[in-house]
Amino acid sequence: MEKQPTRSNETGVMERDCAESQSQHDRQPSPLRLAFDTATLRKIIFSVLLVLAYSTMQPIANAAEGLASAPTLTRPTSANKSPSADGFIQRWLILEPIRANGLTDHAVQALVKKEYFSNQFTVVPKDGDMVAFDGTEHIWHAVDTKEYNVNLYHFARALGKPTSNVLLWGVTIVNCPEEISGVRLAIGSNAASVWWVNGQEVIGIYGDRQTVIDDGVSKRLTLKKGPNIVRCAVLNGGGATDFCARFLDANDKPLKGFTVSAGEVAK
């Protein structure tokens, strides 16, 4: 079966509504149309224009409102955050979605290796930083998730951004009190994603897939004492999109004892 969006696809609804409207319109007996006088027609046209204007402004209103309308995401209110009880990393910097299309191994690798902004594999952005690509500005947002996963659909939708055929970059800083060896990054994503730890590509999972805890798992790696940069690129085809990430210790148990930060958060 086909992948279903989390919520109704706006375009689809509109198309369906228009079709139904057109059908009803076609069934209107012509005498009724003749009954409209000029004033009524003006009122109707004005109302339609109002609706259209509101519809056009809606994404802008959402964008202005920011992430407040994202039901699972909040703005960070502390400098550091511990992982969840199950070890999930719940604080991220997410870049607003970039249009991208492709989920196969080769397509994903090509899409994530394309340069969208300067130092995209090394930069540790700050909340509110902006990058420009293809004539469009994209802003980094620091987010905390209330769940084990980061709901990118909520993220993009709250900002009035597209959710389908998009690429979203994420970065987080994992602060370790000491060096920890033999750990693995374990992630799940909807859909394909590629992951880096301290600049090294450690996971790639491909195809149209749903988020499964510990779906993609890295080989054993070492987290250094101090900050470690975890970076991801998630590609979505259509519908819902999210990811989850945690570290597993040498016994495949959730790693804890570290904190996560997203740099300075804009007021």
Binding site: E2, T104, I205, D214, V217
Partner: protein, 503 residues
């Protein structure tokens, strides 16, 4: 743990895969025991087989007391051997105990000591005191011996676990079964199981030997089969019979290798591939619905290797190609034209348009052949390729050929295997840091040799012979849904349990 029905289906179709290697001629073998890293078993007439790895066997040293159908148990610092002899016309016989601190003739401790008769039959009573079988009760450490043959009853006596002799010689033996011989008892999950051989022996390929069993919560019985029939009335659920190229299994012996791996030894009255000789075999011992089940050692073949934990299968980390090529979904609809639906030039076999009016879901209208690895592997990297796991889609990078490697040694019951992509040379290998890789071609290196043991629930444990610097054995492990690694085997986890299924 829940028994794996898929494996049962495979077992039902399976025949024996491999006989043991080397000189395995023996009749009435004792339970296999380990001494200083070597495996030993003793048979009728003083025959002895010894093996360094449980796969390749050779002739060992005959003990001083040659008799019939001995059994051996290792207790504390001693190996107790119970061996029967006729002392007149059957059923007049007795079972003698000899013991040794080592089974290795090169050991300074190697010296057999006589310890006397522990059971006997006078030729009149309804018993023939031969075919001893030992059980050290894991519950309380008490030592028991069953014995007997078709002359009357299978009987039970208690022995002294320190000296090996009868604990209470004046106590009468307890009768447990009739119409069988070569009996032995095992304990599992609060039950005692009496396994005994029915049918006739010593007739080569005409021997009707088969191993049957009953169980009881109390060691003195009654032992009932799965139909509730008492073994004292001839009951007995079949454990294993003839099959494939071997006839007449008998003389069950349990081998507990630990970590959830159990095996059993037996002899076949006739191995048709060895001129009808009576030979030793070792096979997996499974448990299902509270009963032992005779497993089969892995056969060579082409398989998918699926994780019990995740249901995903091991594959090369290469971009798969849909079997039959990518087909374009016409006429719109959900996902039409999306990723993965582009039609490559010419498409693949059967990639033509669907039957008129049938639409995408009507298929191609023809048979789509299996994927040719030679065609789809042209874009695979030349060097090493990572491993990963994915849903099984019948694709070439997901089909593994498992082949025995000759002269590479083995483990109890099986040789080492190589695991390669079916139709290609790409070979599964362990890396020095305990991860997995597919090397371009099999070289015979120990990290490319795989030990594949069937676990008691029917799943399989897959272990490299060597994994670099790792000091402990590692097993293939599904640490994630899409990623496999090597890690220490945990019998309580599904991570290292695999289904080896026909693709």
């Amino acid at each position: 743990m829940k028994f794996l029905t898929q494996t049962a289906a495979i077992l039902a179709l399976a025949v024996r895969s491999f006989a043991l290697d080397g000189d395995v001629r023996i009749h009435d073998p004792s339970t296999i025991v380990r001494c200083d890293g070597k495996y030993y078993t003793y048979g009728t007439g003083g025959s002895c087989l010894v093996s360094d790895d449980g796969w390749t066997w050779r002739r060992g040293t005959t003990p001083p007391r040659r008799g019939m159908a001995p059994d051996v148990v290792h207790l504390n610092d001693r190996y107790f051997m119970y061996v029967a002899r006729n002392v007149g016309a059957q059923p007049r016989a007795d079972i003698n105990l000899i013991w040794n601190k080592s089974l290795d003739p090169n050991s300074p401790d190697y010296r057999w000591e006589e310890a006397g008769v522990v059971a006997s039959s006078d030729g009149i009573e309804d018993c023939n005191a031969i075919d001893p079988g030992l059980l050290l009760d894991p519950k309380d450490g008490r030592l028991w011996m069953v014995y007997g043959s078709y002359f009357g009853y299978i009987r039970l006596v208690e022995l002294d676990p320190k000296a090996g002799g009868r604990k209470n010689p004046i106590d009468p033996p307890v009768n447990l079964a009739i119409n069988c011989e070569a009996s032995i008892m095992i304990a599992h999950d609060g039950w005692y199981y009496l396994l005994a051989t029915h049918g006739s022996c010593c007739r080569g390929a005409d021997s009707g030997y088969n191993i049957r069993m009953g169980r009881s919560k109390i060691i003195t019985g009654p032992f009932l089969d799965h139909e509730g029939i008492d073994m004292m009335q001839g009951g007995g659920k079949l454990f294993t019979g003839s099959g494939g190229r071997v006839v007449g299994p008998g003389h069950f012996g349990r081998i507990n290798l630990g970590d959830g791996v159990e095996k059993f030894s037996c002899h076949y009255e006739a191995d048709l591939d060895r001129g009808g000789a009576s030979v030793l075999d070792i096979r997996p011992l499974l448990w299902k619905d509270g009963w032992p089940l005779a497993g089969e050692n892995l056969r060579e073949g082409t398989y998918q290797i699926a994780s019990v934990r995740t249901g995903t299968v091991l594959e090369l980390a290469v971009e798969g190609v849909p079997v039959g090529g990518r087909r374009e979904r016409r006429g719109g609809g959900p996902g039409a034209g999306g990723p993965g639906f582009a039609r490559p030039g010419g498409g693949g076999p059967g990639a033509g348009g669907p039957p008129r009016g049938a639409g995408f879901f009507g298929g191609t209208g023809g048979v789509i052949p299996s994927q040719d690895v030679g065609q789809v592997s042209t874009n695979w990297p030349d060097g090493n390729i990572d491993l990963r796991m994915a849903n099984f889609l019948c694709q070439a990078q997901q089909k593994w050929r498992i082949t025995a490697v000759t002269n590479a040694g083995g483990y109890p019951g099986s040789p080492y295997f190589k695991i390669t992509i079916d139709g290609a040379d790409r070979a599964l290998a362990a890396t020095a840091d305990g991860e997995l890789i597919a090397v371009p071609a099999f070289t015979g290196a120990p990290e490319q040799l795989w030990r594949i043991d069937q676990l008691t629930d029917g799943a399989w444990r897959i272990m490299p012979k060597s994994a670099g610097s790792s000091k402990e054995p590692l097993a293939l492990s599904a640490v994630g849904s899409s990623f496999a690694t090597l890690s220490k085997f945990d019998a309580k986890s599904d991570k290292q349990r695999w289904l080896i299924k026909t693709p």
